[in-house]
Symmetry: C2
Subunit: 372 residues, 2 copies
Amino acid sequence: MSHSFHPPQRILMGPGPSDVSARVLGALGRPTIGHLDPLFIELMDDTKQLLQYAFKTQNELTIPLSAPGSAGMEAAFVNLVSPGDTVIVCQNGVFGGRMKENVERCGAHAVMVQDRWGDPVDPQKVEEAFAAHPEANLLAFVHAETSTGVRSDAKTLCELAQRHDALTIVDTVTSLGGIDLCVDDWGADAVYSGTQKCLSCVPGLSPMTFSAKAVARIQNRATKVQSWFLDMQLVMGYWGGNTKRAYHHTAPVNALYALHESLLILQEEGLDASFARHRENHLELVSGLEAMGLSMAVAPDWRLPQLNAVCIPDGIDDAAVRSRLLHEFNLEIGAGLGELAGKQWRIGLMGHASSRVNVQQCLTALRHVLGH
Amino acid sequence: MSHSFHPPQRILMGPGPSDVSARVLGALGRPTIGHLDPLFIELMDDTKQLLQYAFKTQNELTIPLSAPGSAGMEAAFVNLVSPGDTVIVCQNGVFGGRMKENVERCGAHAVMVQDRWGDPVDPQKVEEAFAAHPEANLLAFVHAETSTGVRSDAKTLCELAQRHDALTIVDTVTSLGGIDLCVDDWGADAVYSGTQKCLSCVPGLSPMTFSAKAVARIQNRATKVQSWFLDMQLVMGYWGGNTKRAYHHTAPVNALYALHESLLILQEEGLDASFARHRENHLELVSGLEAMGLSMAVAPDWRLPQLNAVCIPDGIDDAAVRSRLLHEFNLEIGAGLGELAGKQWRIGLMGHASSRVNVQQCLTALRHVLGH
């Protein structure tokens, strides 16, 4: 290639990134200023407040990590887990498996609670895991499984952990801004998300929030956090409080402009209105898909409105369909991940991309390509 | 605040981020596409080639890491260091200390080679460290110390490591694109940089390259890399070769548009022309500063043209001067870091910011504020 890259205008209805609005792209492209500039510090402070609104939390340590959601997951584990700990990890999709990897790379023991991919986490099994492993001091689960389109009951799981004096790590990469997420009400302790899902910001940052109990555990660690870059005691020195900010790393200045703008848009709409919009467009999509003879992979109560898992009918060439959608309609939908590859499509209706126009375009394009 | 953020147009002459050109900002703000889109894969391949040009390497594993330079440093260490290893770390500024932290958090032993902040690394001391620690299998040093404005002799240090059968980790955060950097000629093994210095791209990514010997060491590790996010065996699955790309994390799509554009600009100018421009503007700045009675902190042979360490005269209020430059002239210069805080300024002439216009604006503003 070796010439300037001019991407086409896609309609992003996969598992993320979702469509980024012109308003957010405009913010992204504003002039770069220094990461210790007083005006940038004001932006950081305002971003923290907007994130507190989005997460429904008063947690002081509420920041965007300067790396993607996968690094947010790792930051939660390396800060809260010490070598020799026992961690209960719920797996009902790809990302529970990644949590297990994180626990083990921290030198700790992961007790796995397995549920079928496509089902929510079963609290009864978690209860049994705590009974069998009273030494467990942490419960980790995914609120909205991006690989399966399933919501789990985060409130119940957090309560259960609290009864066993365990902290919680909650993956909200796909839930933040799309479905109700109540960090303080639930008493969740370390919560991470991504910017490229229901916030409809560019990928690359991970909004995170830590409860006072989580911060206390971090401050009382007997061993150093194994990652220097993700060590929250150091990150807090740059993002934290009213004290003079200490240089830790160079923040991704322009990406933070974009995140700030996307959080403003969410606040302007209001969380409840955003959740309602996601739900309405989801219902319209499901109704259109079912009218076409397609069936949803997840039971109605546990479906994520922002990520719709659809069974691929027998005899349909998965890759060929997605390729035609992309090339004939500039429409991206998601493939199945892990054991669901080839069996399901994942149709995202996330953030800015959750609109009636997109629902109709997607249905029209699918009808055309499937020959209905 | 809670309204859209409109940053002023600063002149960024600190230690980075440097000024980002309108062309790069334009690329940054283009429509987001999927991180597995075939067109994005083409962009990734082209970016790898442009990075090979910038690093002067044929290394296959040459990629931008999806996180800032600090994470690039950590990626080099966690992949090449195993628990119990002995690593020789050269320190002549802030970043050597950060290398030590990384070694220790990998469960390895750091043998420190200390030089005065403001001097280059002394190869004789490194030779002595290898003699005292024949078990050392890695040498780590900073090519261009951002905290002091000093270049070290990377070629000699790499040769020395090779004679002792040790691999090398070389920090080129501030050197890439600004001074000569010959990864293959030197035989450097793991080299990381940043985007926000002489590439004049937005902060947030870390260009990296690994030699075949480094890749072999990673592939033959007895223990897993302690970081899942930075595990190069996994990152290679997404960025690597001609095989089907495996999902690892969501790449920061728009930041990669910007990096691609900034690398194109570097290739259009040519490395040698870029180095010559950095050198000429540096000489003009030094001559103007000396005419004003200011003195440089680093001996001429070891000065970085892209980062000029200037002694703050007695009786001058460091913070007040920088604040006036920022508020009256929209000009950012850098404070001293670590033990040099309050003693030196760091004036960057990096990438797009290395121009005659900036040199003259900086000299004029400094003359005004210092009352010369």
